[in-house]
């Protein structure tokens, strides 16, 4: 009986497989780090190994067997021959990364069963000792059991008191902020999230907030990447936060050259041809020195899939505490399900990005391509999922001449249409200036 019980509740083999997978495959490390906790392992040594691998992973150190031994040496762990041999046994039981989900599920199932068994024992004891009235006992048991059966580790149901408290704290925060605006900042709104790089857009949105999905649409050759790098500049260089930038169509060199132009204000074409004066060359070097100390992490990846994005996003959140991820751009992503229609694939990608933003508590920006008529493929579905939808469209000279409102601006040549804004005003346009030669953007100046 004891043996059967242990076999059901304790699955040491799966624990070893998961740990071995973590030692040998990055994919396995990302999955396990995200979905398991130390207490999900039964064996104390396995808990320790899991914790060590996670610590190394967070420091971006590849957790080889030797690294694990060195880390344990630093922390004065693994003091017996048996412990080291068990670790060697784990290291040898390598599984392919793609099988990790099966072993992870087994570890999770055993962990949940152990919690269930502990729950039964506890309530059995409470019944015997008649500690609580029957009604309270049953209600308490029901709540615990629901948590155990339905909810994942990160899910949480708010009680009325918790929700009221959350509301109170939020209103208090906003009340104090409002006072601060009127007294200290002289009417300038402080941001709730990351800066957008445009004062006018900051005012409308209060910044890109954790959990936000932002979609920016523009036609080919109309500044998608420039907008992405402009955002990156505002977030990483001016705000000093870390960002992950995924580019599906440009090479490393192309991205680096764009930065050179943005940060030095020297024309991009000059950087490409090398036709620079010594003064310009010096400015470019200064620009790269700024980039070098920033939190901009770039991942050029032509064959990006939604699954890979989730995996990379998790990794960078754990290792670099990124506050934002920019995907440039969605239309160039690998289609794993070729039978799907274009809009179905786009919907799938956008849904994944929204979930990622919420789970990692980061802002995610997706760049999409507008059709020639300015419309967007699968626009309604994208709009449903996102928190902020922007379209960047050119403003022609004819339009400026005919429109009195546009005449008020000195150098407007593009507009940002706020198609959707979950937390504020939408249906408005922001006038901007896009300097194509230097790849920079800013609010348009008033006459």
């Amino acid at each position: 009986m004891q043996k059967i019980q242990e076999e059901i509740l304790v699955d040491l083999e799966s624990e070893r497989r998961v740990l071995s997978g973590m030692l040998n495959s990055e994919e396995a490390r990302i999955e396990a780090y995200d979905s398991l906790k130390e207490e999900d392992f039964y064996h104390p040594l396995h808990r320790m190994v899991f914790s060590l691998i996670c610590q190394l992973y967070k420091r971006d150190v590849k957790p080889t067997f030797a690294e694990l031994l060195k880390e344990s040496q630093n922390l004065n762990l693994f003091r017996t021959q048996q412990e080291i041999s068990e670790l060697a046994y784990i290291a040898e039981h390598f599984i392919e990364g793609e099988n990790i989900t099966y072993w992870l599920q087994r570890v999770k199932d055993s962990s949940r069963l152990r919690k269930f068994e502990a729950f039964l024992r506890r309530y059995h004891q409470m019944i015997r000792e008649k500690q609580l009235p029957v009604e309270d006992l049953l209600m308490g048991a029901e709540e615990e059991l629901t948590n155990l059966t339905v909810l994942e580790k990160d899910d949480h149901v708010d009680s009325p008191a918790e929700l009221a408290n959350l509301g109170y704290e939020e209103v208090e925060r906003r009340y104090l902020r409002f006072k601060e605006i009127s007294e200290v900042n002289k009417g300038v709104l402080p941001l709730d999230g990351l800066p957008t790089g445009f004062d006018s857009l900051n005012n409308v949105t209060l910044g890109y907030k954790p959990g936000d999905l932002i979609i920016l649409g523009a036609q080919t050759g109309h500044g998608k990447t420039a907008f992405a790098l402009h955002t990156a500049k505002a977030v990483t260089i001016e705000h000093k936060a870390n960002i992950l930038y995924l580019n599906t169509e440009m090479s490393r060199v192309q991205i680096a050259l764009r930065w050179g132009s943005i940060l030095s204000q020297v024309e991009h074409e000059k950087l490409r041809s090398g036709d620079l004066t010594s003064g310009e060359f010096s400015k470019v070097l200064q620009g790269y020195s700024v980039l070098s100390g920033s939190g901009f992490y770039s991942y050029p990846c032509p064959n990006l899939t939604p699954e890979k994005i989730v995996s990379i996003g998790r990794k960078f959140k754990a290792q670099y505490d990124i506050k934002m991820m920019i995907l440039d751009y969605v239309g160039r992503m690998e289609k794993l399900t070729p039978n799907y229609a274009e809009w179905q694939i786009l919907e799938q990608i956008v849904k994944t990005q929204k979930m990622l933003a919420q789970n990692l508590e980061i802002a995610v920006m997706c760049l999409v391509q507008l059709n020639e008529d300015g419309s967007l493929q699968g626009a309604r579905r994208m709009k449903n999922e996102c928190d902020l939808m922007l379209k960047m469209v050119p403003v022609s000279n004819e339009e400026i001449e005919q429109n009195e409102k546009l005449k008020k601006f000195r150098d407007v040549n593009y507009r940002l249409i706020i198609d959707k804004n979950r937390d504020g005003r939408s249906g408005i346009d922001i006038m901007i200036h896009f300097d194509k030669a230097r790849q920079t953007l800013r609010d348009a100046r008033l006459v």
């Binding site: 067997f65 031994l69 040496q73 021959q81 290291a91």
Partner: protein
């Protein structure tokens, strides 16, 4: 799928790391010596640094003799003191150790020649 480890370098790597770990637990290796050896097997087996492998291979080819004890100690101290995580340090280490190993081989060859002369 479980991967067969027979004859794979990873098998040797795990076994070597295990032995180093156990020797340290038993007090036969100092922590810094164990750390250095673990770094070396990471470099040679996992990162496949063949240059370092060949230098160390030459070093271990001939057994120590009293005339080379001093060089052996210098090589060991150099290995232990080097940060084997930094590519620049590794580069310098290889140059220094290679020079020392050559000198060691030269002394051993000379000694062998002297012995042969004596036998003749």
């Amino acid at each position: 799928m479980i991967i067969d480890h027979k004859n794979r370098p990873e098998k040797w790597y795990t076994e070597l790391a295990r032995i180093i770990g156990i020797l340290q637990v038993k007090g036969r290796l100092k922590p810094e010596e164990a750390r250095c050896l673990l770094d070396i097997i990471d470099l040679v087996i996992i990162q496949q640094d063949l240059e370092l492998f060949h230098i160390l291979e030459e070093f271990t080819e001939h057994e120590s003799v009293p005339e080379t004890y001093e060089i052996d100690e210098i090589i060991k101290a150099t290995l232990v003191a080097t940060n084997l995580k930094q590519p620049e340090s590794i580069k310098q280490l290889k140059a220094v150790v290679q020079e020392l190993v050559r000198e060691r081989t030269r002394i051993q060859n000379k000694q062998r020649e002297d012995e042969n002369e004596y036998l003749v």
